[in-house]
Symmetry: C2
Subunit: 373 residues, 2 copies
């Protein structure tokens, strides 16, 4: 069984790491050779996934194909499907999610709570939207945005022109009400081809410079909204007829949940599931698309805390002080194999399990401080 | 950091699967291409590890080298060391362990309890040994024996000639008293380059057709001999100045322990540690030779049971009914990627965790019955 993955980053790498135990082989299509995922498999094709020839050639050796990012032209995926290739998640769902305007419209149509939003063709659309719903508003690129790239916070009328001009070169735009949330939360949900669904715990996510940086999963948190979040997650994957793991970013205000964004893939907010849950999001993703039964998504211990290791300089990467971390119990280090470190680049992550939440958080931060890469 | 592994079987495969998270690369030297371990890495050299040219070429690209089996000429390892290569475990310890007679002599010298034994040059040696210590005795090939191959049980004088003739073609021989044990037990012990030692729980091992087939790790078992086994394990790795994970097979009679065999590598009796312990024997092996601190070897749950999936036919392998297993909680499947199944070939294993030992054992057996490969 050879599973193809479009994309060769850390998400693909962790899918592979988690699923070799089933005897599967993996073929990675990455932009650059020796990608994080390409380093851990025999089969890596370096090429553009928007190049139809490359994609077709890649797909020929794969029994089934999945993806680790949503920035792939759904038409290209469609052409694979038209040639009989199994791709999960498929072109239809990627098409709906990739464009944030379509995504919001889809969510609204199935009665999932989202912030107010509108399509933006010119500056007047922003001004009208703000007049109706008030400032601040967030101007967003409809496609290709990630880690805060493609977002612009507009606090008043005088920001509108600058915002519009700075983002319009990135393609089509949309506008949303700014949500004054109490917390950002997230979950991952996996749905198999045959429709079995497992939802992961609701976690708190803390961003730093718009990058998901810190994730807290605790048995004791979000008791009141757990069920509501689970219902949302189940509804989304069912209505979309989704197969695989999907990340759901949400805003929590009081006990109100608004869905902020869907990611049709495994998600940074679920890295902790490798050690924190009985079955990781990565493994369940592959189980889902293989139509295997899904594994338990329950927490193994009371608390799991995940902190990203983000690059703090530019240059060749060099792991230092790993030993300091590994001498501590229930501390887990993941290094993505990126040869070069860069400011803001995700180089790895640390997960810490523990009984006492504040101690677990403190230990995770201490470990992050210790490591150099 | 590129780690070389001499051997490309399932032991190497599981080392790799468990340690990609540290960003390491692995280079495998296997007899045949597309070996179980070769399937999960970019770097596989197919060749004979006793071919010095091949070994030298292989070693050139590796920062550090380890091995997954002990059937490598220690002289060949020595020649790598002489050229400045770091090999763990090293030629000296492989030399001592590989030859079962030297192994037993070494153990005796450091006061580790072993069965009576003697060197065998001709049939008279066997007859004299039996006269002194009584039948039955076990005639053994001093080298290259595994899974019962190279052993012959001699019940009386009339078996001596057949036994000698059937084994003497395999090389030098030794003879041991047959131990009428209550249970076969085992442990794994990891020692790092700097001398840190962690011992895994004592497990019961049940052989089928001389192949380790069933392993039971339980918090409630072997209370009385736990400390004794731990002392033996620590003494062995300290006296041998060992680096890496070492498997120790033992006989238990009453509360007496005899060491049966050392394996200078990760061991089948420790496969359960992947899910059963906080840190697997595979990961600790690599931590040890990288001189990282070792991880906790404690059991995560009360009971872990491991059952091997041994081939029951000859032909192309085809995994069937995996879904039936994966629908059960705390059941873990490992498939080694061997393209061909054969009678008696280790194709994979199943680990089951649980609170109640007899239910855990029953579930493991049920799962083994269900799977076809």
């Amino acid at each position: 069984m050879k599973i193809g993955i479009l994309g060769g980053g850390q998400l693909a790498r962790m899918i592979i790491e988690e699923c070799y135990k089933y005897g599967f082989e993996f073929h990675v299509l990455s932009k650059d050779p020796d990608s994080p995922a390409g380093q851990v498999t025999k089969y890596e094709t370096a090429g553009e996934w928007d190049d139809e020839n490359c994609l077709r050639k890649f797909s020929e050796g794969c029994d089934i194909i999945t993806l680790e990012n949503e920035f792939i032209d759904p038409q290209k995926i469609r052409s694979l499907e038209d040639r009989g290739k199994k791709v999960f998640p498929g072109s239809k769902v990627i098409g709906l999610i990739q464009d944030k305007l379509y995504q919001k419209k889809t969510l609204e149509k199935i009665n999932i709570p989202v912030a107010k939003f509108c399509e933006v063709n010119d500056q007047k659309d922003i001004l009208n939207f703000a007049k109706q719903h008030g400032y601040p508003v967030v101007l967003k690129s409809r496609t290709m945005g990630y880690d805060g790239k493609g977002n612009y916070l507009i606090n008043s009328e005088k920001d509108v022109e600058t915002a519009f001009e700075s983002l319009s070169s990135r393609g089509e735009l949309m506008c949303e009400s700014f949500v004054n949330f109490d917390k950002e939360i997230a979950t991952q949900v996996t749905r198999s081809i045959s429709g079995e669904i497992k939802v992961y715990p609701v976690v708190e996510t803390i961003q730093k410079d718009h990058i998901c940086n810190f994730v807290i999963a605790s048995k004791d948190q979000f008791e009141k909204i757990k069920l509501k979040a689970e219902e949302i997650a189940k509804k989304v994957v069912t209505e979309l007829d989704y197969a695989g793991t999907l990340g759901i970013e949400m805003f929590l205000t009081g006990s109100d949940i608004l869905v902020n964004e869907l990611a049709p893939r495994v998600h940074n907010s679920g890295h902790y599931t490798i050690e924190g849950c009985y079955t990781s999001q990565f493994e369940n993703h592959i189980r889902a698309i293989m139509n295997f039964p899904l594994g338990s998504t329950q927490l193994r211990e009371n608390n799991s805390v995940m902190i990203n290791i983000i690059g703090e300089r530019n240059g060749l990467s060099k792991l230092q002080n790993a030993g300091e971390l590994l001498s501590k119990e229930k501390v887990y280090l993941h290094v993505y194999g990126k040869k070069e470190t860069r400011f803001g680049r995700k180089m790895g992550h640390i997960t810490v399990l523990g009984d006492d939440l504040s101690k677990t958080i403190a230990l995770a931060k201490e470990c992050r401080e210790a490591i150099r890469i």
